[in-house]
């Protein structure tokens, strides 16, 4: 008897997986739309227009002295937008939480009040204000003006990727990979096993690897498409483009896809019901989503915590991805991080191969 060609069967499994995926509109809609919503939503909220838009609220003194006038002039020269309000209006604005830095007169001198919730903007405004204060003082004293140090806000690598949206793009790509591995692969595997879909296939001559490979290839192409859509949206919406080598970037996406698919299969061997799996997957998912640098970097977290988080696969992965995408850098210096990722990939692959169950 002549059995069908496995490669022809693989092509067919791939096609049917795609066809069934396209029928599940709800899941498809969310897996493509969610990253875009995050990108546009967060990108808009945290749109920073650079240092020009830094606003310093100034509480109007009872009487404007010559010293005040010189200070305000120097502040304006420092590209700070000075908003002078009377004490009541300034206090109201402060209470609403809109003010990041506020300049008040105290006796003969001044005081800066910084909003702890907006400490990044507040710090910038405070530094600019301190420089302006020195300049104003020098002018009043008739001594030579101190030189200003010019300030620019940009990403470590390149001036074009200086927005939060640009920071977010690699994070969302990584998050897509994680979601795909844990849920589209791991959860689906557990549910197929629990419902007996694998059993029905097991009594046919379809080689098992063909079925699994068809599934893996379908998920991988979904992720590649999601990444492409995200990159396109980032380019059209925010003018964000990859600053580094596209080849290295693509290689990283492929490596991440393989790692997280293997993780999904490995985790699926730990649970026999979808409910148990959901609990296990969430235990892995949420720490990585929140602390592995998808939305923000944990540079201010304690050292031990940062080290602990670097052991999770997503953190070193996102660092490498950002170095390439945002900073246009090479992967030099990411050896340890990529090694951690590699260990995860190998361990997950080994567990998946050894522990994978059909029934």
């Amino acid at each position: 008897m002549k059995h069908p060609n496995p490669l022809a069967l693989l092509r067919q499994q791939f096609r049917i997986e795609w066809r069934l995926y396209l029928r599940d509109r709800g899941a498809m809609f969310w897996s493509f739309l969610f990253p875009l919503l995050m990108l546009f939503g967060m990108g808009m909220i945290f749109r920073s227009g650079g240092s020009q838009s830094l606003t310093l609220v100034r509480v109007a003194p009872a009487q404007e002295s010559a010293r005040d006038a010189a200070f305000v002039r120097a502040l304006n020269e420092a590209h700070l937008k000075v908003l002078t309000l009377d004490a009541a209006a300034a206090e109201a604005r402060w209470r609403k939480g809109d003010t990041s830095a506020q300049l008040e007169s105290v006796g003969e001198g001044y005081r800066l009040r910084l909003n702890s919730y907006l400490i990044a903007q507040g710090n910038l405004a405070a530094q600019a204000a301190s420089q302006a204060f020195m300049v104003a003082q020098a002018r009043l004293a008739g001594s030579p003006e101190p030189e200003r140090i010019p300030m620019v806000v940009e990403s470590p690598g390149h001036a074009r990727s200086n927005t939060y949206a640009a920071f977010l793009v690699p994070g969302l790509i990584g998050l897509n990979l994680l979601t795909m591995g844990l849920f589209a692969v791991g959860m689906v595997t557990v549910s197929y096993r629990e419902k007996g879909k694998f059993r029905r296939l097991a009594v046919t001559p379809l080689p098992k690897w063909v079925f699994l490979m068809g599934q893996i290839l379908q998920r991988a192409t979904v992720v590649v498409l999601q990444t492409a859509v995200l990159l396109l949206a980032a380019w059209l919406g925010f003018g964000i483009v990859n600053q580094g080598s596209y080849l290295v970037f693509a290689a990283l996406v492929v490596a991440g896809t393989a790692t997280f698919i293997a993780m999904g299969f490995a985790l699926s061997s730990l649970a026999s019901t979808v409910e148990t799996y959901g609990a296990i997957a969430n235990l892995a998912f949420f720490p990585m989503m929140i602390f592995s640098g998808v939305y923000f970097r944990l540079d201010n977290a304690p050292k031990w915590m940062q080290s602990a988080l670097m052991v999770l696969p997503l953190s070193p992965y996102l660092r490498a991805l950002r170095a390439v995408f945002n900073d246009g850098a090479t992967l030099a210096g990411h050896g340890l991080g990529l090694a951690i990722l590699g260990v995860w990939a190998l361990a997950a692959f080994a567990v998946a191969v050894k522990r994978f169950r059909w029934v």
Partner: protein, 305 residues
């Protein structure tokens, strides 16, 4: 006749129970063979070991003269299986499912022919999740026939079907026999076993209690008929009458059952005795013995217990 399924001393130990405890079976080509037994008798486990789904802990299995572990792909190409519950993708249609499963095999039957066979032409483009229980069951049956198999395994094929659905499924199974296929099925419906099966094995606690044609099994009881008495209320205690007439009267579920080889002689004695005891019965039936009685006789329990 050559044996299509050959099973010797098959054993399966589950963590807490010996599910199959040394089963021997021999099924000839073209036979419809039934495994009859209550839930938990080991029918499904036995079937799944023969289908190659569950590895046995001991014993030997040959299907079409081939062995698991050596000729797996070959066996799978030649058998068709309907599992107790067939789970498919939610949004696959019957036509796609038949095309897809058909493509796995070296030999296949046309999808249209199979759809017609199980009367699913009108539902061929409906999503699997929208099919009724009977329609899904018929699709599962069509999937088991997709490779034009020599041997078909059906695990509780009529479970959950209405009477009409059961009858149309029986027709399909008879059609398989007509086409020369060997069929092995499990059931806990004795009428189904009696109507469909050429031969039966009665299973309980993982053991084959008896094998034979339905007729042979019933005849082996030596009591062709059963007299049944129904009462208006609860049946009275038969002990007194049993001793007086020296017949084995059993009270079961509101009915007295009296197996007898000669109802013609026994009935007048019984009725006279009832009259003199002033026991007010409702109705008298005489029926021929069934597989249920065989099972009762062999295990002391009813099939549905």
């Amino acid at each position: 006749m050559p044996s299509q399924i050959h099973v010797r001393q098959l054993r399966k130990q589950f963590p807490k129970v010996l599910a199959v405890a040394g089963v021997d079976l021999e099924v000839a080509a073209g036979e419809v063979f039934g495994l009859l037994g209550p839930n938990g008798a080991g029918k499904t486990t036995t079937l799944e070991m023969i289908e190659g789904l569950t590895p046995p802990d001991g014993g030997e299995i040959e299907v079409c003269g081939l062995r698991w572990g050596r000729d797996d792909a070959e066996i799978r190409a030649r058998i068709g299986v309907q599992l107790q519950a067939t789970s498919l993708y939610n949004k696959i249609t019957p036509r796609e499912a038949l095309d897809l499963f058909g493509s796995y095999y070296p030999k296949r039957r046309s999808t249209d022919e199979l759809l017609e066979l199980v009367q699913l032409q009108e539902k061929k483009d409906a999503y699997h999740i929208t099919l009724s229980g009977g329609q899904a069951q018929r699709l599962a049956l069509a999937l088991a026939l997709v490779n034009d198999p020599e041997v078909v395994f059906l695990d509780e094929p009529t479970a959950g079907l209405d009477p009409q659905g059961r009858r149309s499924l029986w027709d399909v199974v008879r059609g398989m026999k007509g086409a020369g296929r060997t069929v092995m099925l499990t059931t806990h419906y004795m009428d189904e076993a009696e109507v469909l099966c050429d031969r039966l094995a009665i299973l309980d606690h993982g053991k084959v209690l008896q094998t034979g044609t339905p007729r042979e099994l019933i005849a082996s009881l030596g009591i062709p008929s059963v007299v049944e008495l129904t009462f208006d209320g609860a049946p009275p205690d038969p002990a007194g009458l049993r001793a007086r007439l020296d017949v084995p009267i059993e009270a079961r579920g509101g009915v007295w059952e009296i197996p007898t080889a000669d109802p013609k002689a026994m009935l007048p004695r019984l009725l006279t005795a009832l009259e003199s005891e002033r026991l007010d019965y409702d109705q008298v039936h005489v029926r021929r013995a069934t597989l249920e009685d065989v099972f009762l006789h062999l295990t002391g329990r009813s099939l549905r217990d």
